[in-house]
Amino acid sequence: MLRYITQRLIESAIVLLIMSFLIYGLIGLMPGDPIDLMITADPKLTPEDAARLKALYGLDRPIAERYLNWLSAAFTGDLGYSRIHARPVLEVLRPALGNTVLLMGLSFALALAIALPAGVIAALKPQSALDNTINMVAFAGISVPPFWLAILLIILFAVVLGWLPAGGMGDAGWWSRASHLVLPVAALTLVTVGGIIRFVRAATIEALRQDYVRTARAKGLSRRQVIVGHVLRNAMIPVVTILALNFGALFSGALITETMFGWLGMGKAIYDAIMGNDFNLALIGLLLATLTTLLANLLADLTYAWLDPRISYR
């Protein structure tokens, strides 16, 4: 098992290296560099100014050379400065990462806490009124645009009822932070819970049809033992795959929710970095998202072995 994990970690490092090159190259290929944008915004900028600034920011050099410079600096622990925040990249990403983990982690946990029982209940009584209701809620969650839902929640809870703040991060106090978290967490949970319910329901229905479930029933196991010990455990394998993939998105953040509620997370940081041609910030942000996806997949693979004893890694 240890050998397997080591091998996967080495593979992940290679993937990260390749991704760093691809991301750097793709950002470099985007039309217009920061100085081109500056020229349109500042009529006083002369050709000499443009040339001087391009040299200062290293934009006059070939992209491969810029990438190699960045890479060699990164290996020494220098991840560079964010151009649009005028601060070291890690100083920008650290709080954004913390905010995203808090927001996405809570909504992910809440969505799971709702979706698991709801999906199983719906699967156990297919086509019943309860199943139809859960399905309807799930489809509503999948269909509703996050932008619209966010505005609706703000208008209801902040404007009409005045119970919760409309946006922002709150101050340092836990109560303030918690109250500012409620609406973005609710919005994110509502838009993600539907998809998970549908996966859990489908996987559970599939597991219920399997021979080992019939055998377990024939052995005289109670309904609870059959569902928890046999159905759920097997149904979780495809669900874990989906959750692992979703987990990667956790670190790239939820752009729309973060923008609407003014929550300073990774999604917004990465989006602003790409739009502002902030190479260093965009690169590290996207690499973090890649790393998370790779680790989440590794975790999922290890979870399979725990869920299904027939699976083993050498």
């Binding site: 002369t46 703000i154 902040a158 119970w163 409309a166 502002g276």
Partner: protein, 556 residues
């Protein structure tokens, strides 16, 4: 699991326990804007959000006032040749220069108690002209050949040329030498990354205005408190919070919930959004519209063989009803433009060629230009070429997309087929406009200042090319020796009356040659609480916050 439970419980409590929305406390003003500044250093990058906040904390040496006249903000008297503070002189290379003398306000003091002095002026100049400092446009610093220190508060600048803007030669945004000099001198190339304005923006020594920054949360908000060393009128608010909410729908919701008290007109809602807001909530707020210097127009690519013909350009403008467009889309709040000079500017001239809506005249001009064969309601020339033009703007800008559709429909009425091709702003500005890749028409806006000479947009050597690093903003490719001569002449004409005559000719030539289709003057929409008094929109690049000390809370 226990931790998760506790976290969920606290969320649940927050949901179900009624909590009063934040209301505007006495002495606090919460302003909503849509952009967060990327750096707080006044001289690195030009950004409206930064100017908006910094204007509360510091003042330029000179600025344009509400009447669009140059005035002293940090200095005590504008230097003029008449008052003897400006003296023409020869430059070391034998050219004609000028020496201008300024006195800094005697009580101007940084927030840490150190006086604002000539040393700060000299340091700012040194940083500005250093090629590696990261200051974007250092033309203004390069023009200053040297600075003589008379005493702590007085200095003379030797400028390399005489232009009518000489009284504003010292329009610098000062840097505190006692804080920034060691950082700059240790490594000028790293100054932009290490400046105290970004490393420690709450340092009181960076500010000498009515307020200083007390709290700085990147991307979220900036809080300001009164600066005890301020030398001007006493500011009214105990605390000002500038909160950044990029999405305008969320910005409105925050206003209605009381999380912010007002939406800045400098960086807030567009006029159509403000008009819609006014219909729903107009009674709760004062909504003020102020047209200004943002000139919405269409650049015509004069290298396009169709647009080279002045008759086609004139037909294009005669075919659009700009009055109706202004009335229907903006309820007249954004007046139609007839040239590139605002009617609010003292150099504006009404003696220009105007193009009223006249589809019959447009048709006549197109016939005369050879586009006289109508097939499926679209004009063709005798060779069978179809009169099709491409129009582009910034994708996602709802107002521009709406205007585009109206224009497309109007042009269709006279047989011109206009194809819309929009792009994201960074592609449109970073590539298409800057590198003159638009095939026919590009719709966007210029922001200028009062009496702004259009050198970068109309002078023939300002056409962006690869050779000049795509700088210059003459994106239309306009070339007219008379225009070049006028621009040169205006810049060095010191007599106001004589200069006004030159401006008249420039505007007339502009409207005759028509390298650009003028559309309308954009307005800023300020959504203000009923209790706020003293905020006076300027309409130019100096934001309302340059006079923040005049803002007051009043009972109505």
């Amino acid at each position: 699991m226990r931790t998760l439970f506790l976290a969920l419980l606290s969320l649940g409590l927050a949901v179900w326990t009624p909590q009063p929305a934040e209301a505007g406390g006495a002495g606090e003003l919460k302003i909503g804007i849509t952009q967060f500044p990327s750096t707080m250093n006044p001289n690195i990058d030009s950004m409206l959000a930064k100017s908006y906040v910094l204007a509360m904390t510091r003042r330029p040496v000179t600025a344009y006032d509400h009447d669009w006249q140059l005035t002293c903000m940090l200095c005590t008297e504008l230097p003029t040749i008449e008052n003897g503070l400006a003296v023409p002189e020869k430059t070391p290379d034998g050219g004609q220069g000028i020496a201008v003398t300024y006195s800094l306000h005697p009580r101007a003091t940084w927030g840490d108690g150190r006086p604002v002095t000539t040393d700060d002026v000299i340091f700012t100049w040194e940083v500005g002209r250093h090629p590696q400092s990261g200051v974007a446009s250092n033309e203004v610093y390069r023009r200053i050949l040297s600075i003589d220190r008379i005493d702590d508060k007085r200095f003379t600048m030797h400028v390399d040329r005489i232009t009518y803007t000489y009284p504003a030669s010292g329009a610098l945004d000062l840097l505190p030498a006692h804080i920034e000099r060691p950082i700059f001198e240790s490594d000028p190339a790293q100054y932009r990354n290490r400046t105290t304005f970004d490393a420690e923006p709450t340092n009181p020594g960076l500010y000498f205005g009515p307020y200083r920054i007390d709290e700085f949360v990147s991307g979220s908000h900036i809080a300001l408190v009164p600066n005890p060393t301020w030398y001007g009128g006493e500011p009214a608010f105990d605390r000002i919070v500038v909160r950044v909410i990029e999405n305008t729908a969320a910005l409105e919701a925050n206003l209605l919930s009381g999380a912010i008290d007002m939406i800045s007109g400098d960086l807030g809602l567009t006029v159509d959004q403000a008009l819609a807001f006014e219909k729903r909530h107009g009674k709760q707020f004062n909504i003020v519209y102020k047209p200004g210097l943002i000139y919405e127009h269409i650049d015509l690519n004069l290298d396009n063989p169709v647009l080279k013909d002045i008759r086609v350009r004139r037909a294009l403008i005669h075919a659009i009803d700009r009055e109706a467009l202004s009335q229907q889309l903006f309820e007249g709040r954004q007046p139609p433009a007839h040239a590139s000079v605002s009617p609010l500017d003292w150099v504006y001239s009404d003696d220009i060629r105007k193009y009223p809506y006249d589809p019959a005249e447009a048709a006549r001009l197109l016939d005369a230009a050879g586009w006289n064969v109508l097939r499926q309601k679209i004009r063709h020339n005798t060779k069978g070429d179809r009169l099709t033009l491409e129009l582009g703007t910034t994708a996602g800008n709802r107002t521009r997309e709406l205007v585009e559709q109206v224009l497309q429909s109007m042009w269709r009425q006279v047989g011109i087929d206009v194809r819309i091709k929009n792009e994201p702003a960074r592609v449109f500005f970073g590539e298409t406009v800057t590198k003159r890749k638009f095939k026919a028409m590009a719709m966007f806006a210029w922001l200028s200042s009062p009496e702004n000479v259009p050198r970068t947009t109309l002078y023939s050597d300002m056409i962006p090319t690869e050779a000049n690093n795509w700088s210059g903003q003459n994106n239309t490719g306009y070339r007219n020796p008379e225009m070049d001569r006028l621009i040169d002449a205006i810049e060095i004409e010191l007599d106001r009356d004589a200069r006004k005559l030159l401006w008249q000719r420039l505007q007339k030539l502009y409207t005759e040659d028509l390298p650009v289709i003028p559309l309308y003057w954009r307005a800023n929409a300020y959504v203000l609480p009923k209790w706020l008094d003293g905020l006076r929109p300027t309409g130019h690049q100096f934001t309302t916050t340059h006079w923040i000390e005049e803002w007051r809370r009043v009972d109505r």
